[in-house]
């Protein structure tokens, strides 16, 4: 197991957003986390990347206890978080946004190699490399956000709703890219999605959250076939 979360609880003021969540994700697994609005999916990711402080519980990553560590430390341990809503900085160019992902690595040569790698994954970013990123389309911005995360050489990738607000064709493309990256780079990925069907289709593992609690964990394919999950989250 590369990621082990046990009894994690996170509060927003008085509200308990994540309640005693325990999950285990093996290395190289793409895990989809689905659930309705307010299920605690985003808060769970934010607690894992250090943006939110957990109230109690333990997070273990590669055998090390990382509960409550700061994001600037966790990114150095290989945890990259693409937060909700196309997380790019519009005032910076495409290249600067990408360089940002590798800024802590200090090694100029490695940064250049990573930049070439990202451009080969997303050729569109290469074409727009010196444009300001607010000139990009929604799909391109999402590619840029993922590209920035890849620049920091992640082993664990936390993706928060990459499909949000994108056209169906673009969504399909982004999902396929996430699947390919997971396999090629042997990443462990937590993919939070409202688009439950799309996410489960590419995932190995499915985790269903409801009101801050884990209500189902299974192979993604098994969840797709589960009548209760279908009725509640897949809409048929």
């Amino acid at each position: 197991m590369s990621l082990n979360v046990s009894n994690l609880t996170v509060h927003h003021g008085a509200i308990c957003a994540v309640n005693q969540v325990s999950i285990a994700v093996p290395t190289g697994t793409l895990a989809a986390i689905i659930g309705s609005n307010g299920a605690g999916k985003t808060t769970l990711l934010r607690a894992l990347s250090g943006l939110n402080k957990p109230t109690s519980g333990v997070v273990n990553w590669m055998g090390e206890r990382i509960t409550g560590e700061k994001p600037e430390k966790l990114v150095r341990m290989g945890i990259s978080h693409v937060s909700e809503g196309k997380s790019v900085i519009p005032e910076l160019t495409v290249k600067e946004n990408l360089e940002l992902g590798a800024i802590w690595r200090k090694d100029g040569k490695e940064m250049k190699e990573s930049l070439e790698q990202v451009v080969s994954i997303f050729p569109r970013l290469g074409e727009r490399i010196s444009q300001r990123s607010d000139t990009l389309s929604g799909g391109e911005r999402q590619m840029l956000a993922i590209g920035r995360a890849i620049m920091s050489k992640p082993k664990l990738l936390l993706l928060d709703e990459p499909s949000l607000g994108l056209a169906p064709l673009v969504v399909e493309q982004i999902f396929q890219t996430i699947r390919d990256l997971t396999t090629q780079m042997r990443l462990t990925v937590l993919l939070v999605e409202q688009n439950a069907m799309g996410a489960l289709k590419i995932a190995d593992l499915g985790i269903v959250l409801n009101l801050g609690k884990v209500v189902a964990v299974n192979h993604a394919q098994a969840l797709i076939e589960d009548p209760a999950v279908r009725a509640a989250y897949l809409g048929y």
Binding site: E72, H81, I89
Partner: protein, 301 residues
């Protein structure tokens, strides 16, 4: 000739306002606080410079001493005073204005401290270069070797600053932390340290502005100097004209304000010294409320 003269005086004064505006913008970008103590900090730094002049007898030592002293003091203010206040600023309306009120309080504290240390009377810093105007075709300009020197130094500092911001990793960290602190943290940037650095740079810029404002004026330095009130107001207005968020805007805002004031004083009335900046601010806000460079925030969704 009078036209050129007015323009050059305006550019020189404007370049000093630009530095002050940059100080406001750097602080605003790093902590979202309008620092009303900025002129007080510049005044204190100028006293550091004064102290260096009187100990070592050289203005050339005063400039770096004022800059380093100003930077360290500003960093200290951010670390000790502002960090906690700014962190709690989102917790309510009173906590929200607390950082700004604190800068007003700090202004008072700095002035009292200066009075205690150096006394309330005027101190003098003598410029190392003549402020007697150049003579062209037999007529004497107000534009002087000192003003030329000030202009050159400001331009050099602006070039260094723009290389720092545009070409270095540190600059990228400063910009990322200003625009999107959360993404910056997720990229591994220690945003708290970058904030302190932003204040330090502002302190250094303010120090140069303060020292130049003093020697470009009558050379007198006192805790209640009207030169520094003007510097506070002009620097702030220049920053607002430039959109408050943009370093380039601050420079353009400062130059625009300096030239505009210079022309008003020359061609309208020299009695408008203190009212002119405000009228210019109002005009700009009526015509372009987002500033010259400023971007409408609503677009960022």
């Amino acid at each position: 000739m009078q036209l050129l003269n007015t323009l050059l005086i305006g550019i020189t004064a404007g370049s000093i306002y630009s530095l002050m505006a940059i100080a406001f913008v750097l602080v605003w970008r790093s902590t979202r606080v309008v620092n009303f103590a900025q002129a007080g900090m510049a005044l204190l730094s100028t006293y550091f410079g004064y102290e260096a002049v009187s100990r070592f007898g050289s203005f050339w030592i005063a400039l770096p001493v004022a800059m380093i002293g100003g930077a360290l003091f500003a960093a200290l203010v951010e670390l000790v005073l502002m960090r906690l206040l700014v962190k709690h600023a989102s917790s309510g309306p009173i906590a929200g204005v607390a950082p700004i009120i604190a800068t007003l309080g700090l202004l008072g504290v700095i002035k009292s401290a200066i009075t205690i240390i150096w006394g309330g009377q005027d101190q003098r810093i003598v410029a190392p270069i003549s402020n007697n105007g150049f003579t062209v075709n037999g007529s004497t300009l107000v534009f002087s070797p000192l003003k030329l020197f000030i202009l050159v130094v400001v331009v050099i500092l602006l070039i260094i600053l723009s290389i720092l911001f545009q070409k270095t990793n540190l600059g990228l960290a400063l910009r990322a932390s200003a625009h999107a602190p959360e993404i910056a943290r997720l990229s591994g940037i220690k945003v708290d340290a970058v904030r302190t650095l932003g204040w330090a740079l502002a302190g250094a810029a303010g120090a140069v502005a303060g020292l130049f404002q003093t020697v470009n004026g009558n050379g007198n330095l006192s805790p209640d100097s009207s030169e520094f009130s003007l510097l506070l107001v002009s620097g702030f207005i220049a920053a607002v004209i430039g959109g408050l968020d943009s370093l380039l805007g601050a420079v353009l805002g400062g130059l625009f304000l300096g030239i505009a004031i210079s022309f008003v004083l020359m061609y309208v009335s020299s009695g408008l010294f203190f009212i002119a900046p405000f009228v210019i601010l109002l005009l700009v806000l009526f015509i372009r409320p987002q500033g010259i460079i400023g971007v409408k925030v609503g677009r960022r969704a």
